[in-house]
Subunit: 334 residues, 2 copies
Amino acid sequence: MNIGEVAKRAGVSRSTVSYALSGKRPVSEQTRRKIEQVIADLGYRPNASARALANGRTSTLGLVFPPAGGHYTGMQLDFIGSVVEAASAYDYDVTLSTSGMDSDRSFQRLLGERRVDGAILMEIRLEDDRVDHFTRVDFPFVTIGRTAHPEQTWWVGIDHAALAASCVRHLADLGHRTVALVNRPEHLLRVGYESAHRGLEGFTKAAAERGLTARTYRCGDSAAAGEACVAQILHDDPTTTALVTLNEAALGGLYRGLAEAGRLVPHDFSVTGIAAGHWAETMTPQLTAADVPAAELGRLAVELLVERLDHPDATPRHHLLTPPIALRASTGPA
Amino acid sequence: MNIGEVAKRAGVSRSTVSYALSGKRPVSEQTRRKIEQVIADLGYRPNASARALANGRTSTLGLVFPPAGGHYTGMQLDFIGSVVEAASAYDYDVTLSTSGMDSDRSFQRLLGERRVDGAILMEIRLEDDRVDHFTRVDFPFVTIGRTAHPEQTWWVGIDHAALAASCVRHLADLGHRTVALVNRPEHLLRVGYESAHRGLEGFTKAAAERGLTARTYRCGDSAAAGEACVAQILHDDPTTTALVTLNEAALGGLYRGLAEAGRLVPHDFSVTGIAAGHWAETMTPQLTAADVPAAELGRLAVELLVERLDHPDATPRHHLLTPPIALRASTGPA
DNA sequence: TTGAAAGCGTTACCAT
DNA sequence: ATGGTAACGCTTTCAA
C-alpha cells in the first residue's frame, strides 16, 4: 500500500495523490474525493522514511539528556513528557539520546546520520562541548538551561541565581542569620553544571548582601548523602538555623538528618530551595520552594525549536523564567 | 557528502563503498583502506532516511507511554532511561510516543508511517486495545506488564500479585490483624490497569489466607490524596494497624496523614508496598517495600524486542520478576 | 487540472 | 574483486 497503489486505484497519477495530500497544488473536488475514498479504504499512510528522504526533513526532534548512573530527577521526567507532548502538537516525533559529551555514540548517530531536524539539550554546563559542537556545525538546537555565553544561542531556562537569592532573602526576612546551601554533587560542579553554579552564585551574593553567615556544601544526589550533609552542616556550625537546597534528590535525607539531630522543621530549623512543585508537596512539612515549571519549559523549548526550524535565519530568542517562591510549611521565624 | 561523493574520491563505485561499509561482500584490503581514508577525511556518515528506505528498517524502536496529566512516577523515568541505554547498545534509537489508547495521534504516526521497527508498551491494561491492535496487524512489540491473556505475547513484568501478597504476609507475620490496601486511582482501575488489579488480587487473597481483616482503597496519585486516604482508612476502622500501598505518588501523603492522626511509623502503624528502591529510601522512616527493578525491566524489554526483530518467527518469550521485599524501617510488630 | 519523470541516498542483484 | 543499475516510496519540476 504505497502511493502508487493509491494512484492506480483512484485512476490518477502518483503526483496527483501527493498533491491531494499536501494541498500544494489545487486538485479538483471530484478527484480529491475519489482519492480520499481510496486512502480510507486502504488505510494508506505515507512512509516516513521515503518522505524524509525526498524532502530532507525527518519531522523528528532529538532530546539529549544525560545517561543514568546518577539518578534521574523528577524534573527531568516532567521535561521529557512535556517535550514529547508539545512536539506532537507540531507533528514532530521525539527521539531520545543519552549523552554527556559530544563524543557519545547515540548523539553522533542522531546528528551524523541526520535522524533529527533539530535537538533540545538538557542539563547544560556553563562551558558545554555539545553546544559548541552544534554551533560549529550550525545544527539547529535549543537548550534547556544556558551556557556562560548564551547571547547567540536559543534557550529556555530559569534564573537559578535569582531563585536561590530569593530563598536566602526569604530566610533573612524571617530572621535567620546563619544559613547553609546544599548544592548538587562535587563532580557536577566540577564539570560546570549550570544550575549548580548559578544557584551557588545567587546564594552567595544574597547572603553577603544581607550580611548572613553562609556555608556551602556539595551533596550527592541521594537521601543518604542528604542525611550525611545535614550532619556535617550542624557539626560545622551548630548555630545554623536554615538551609537552601538545590538538590532535589537529597531532600528526603535532609529532613531525616534534621529529625535525627532533634531539629524540628520549621520550628527549630527552616528548609527551602528549588524543586518541582509536586515533589515539594510530598515532603512533610511541605517544602517552601521555588517551583521549577518543568512542563512549561519543555513546551517553550519545543516552540522555540520549531520556530528556529521554520525560520533558519531568525535571530536567537530565549525565555528566562523566574518562578516565585511557593510558601508552604518548611520555613518559619528563626 | 553522500556515498557517491565518497565513491568518486576513492575511485570506486558506490556499491563498493556500500559493501566496504557493511562487510556483506569481500573488498580488497587496498580499496578498503582507500575508502576508509576518504570517509575519515570527509567525515561521511550514511543518511539514515535513505538507508531506512532502502532496506525497510529504521533502526528505531518506539516507546509508548501514557500522556502526562496524571503525574509521572519515578519508575517510569527509570524505564525510559534504561530502555534508551539498552537500545543504544544494540544500535537502535528510541522514539517516544505518548498514548493511552490505540487511537492516539503520535501512536498512529509511529505505526502507520513506519517510523519504528518495533515498540515497547508501558502501563499495560488487562484488556489493552493497543496490544490488540499491534497483535492484529502483526507489529513486533514487547510489553512492560502483561495483559489478562499474555500467552502468545512477548512481555516483561513483575508479579504484582505475589509482591502484594508477600507484603501482606510480612505484616501478618508481625502480628497485624487489620490491614488496608492503598491502590491507584479509581479511573486506572476502571480501565483495567494491570498492576492495580493484580496487586489488589494478591492483597485480597493473601489477607483471606491469613484471616486478616482487610479493606481496600483507591487513592489519587498525589500527596494530598494520600493524606485524605489515610484519614478515611482510620475513620473507617480505627483498629487498622498497617497498610500496603501500590501508589508511589501518594506515599508522602500517607506518612503525613499518619503523623497527623498521631500514629507513629513503625511503632503504632506499619507501612509497606511496592515502589522504586531509591524512592523508598527518601522516606522517613525508610519504606520496607518490594523494590521494582525498573532498570532491569527496561533492559530486558529491549533485549526481547531485538530478539523478536531478529527472529520474526521465534516463539514468544517473557520474563516475570518477583523481587524480594527489602526490609527497611517502616514496619514493626503490631 | 493533471501526468511523466527526475531526483533524494542507500542497498542489493546481476553482470563481468 | 568490482561496477552498473534497478529498486525503496515519496516530492516536485517540467510539460501539456
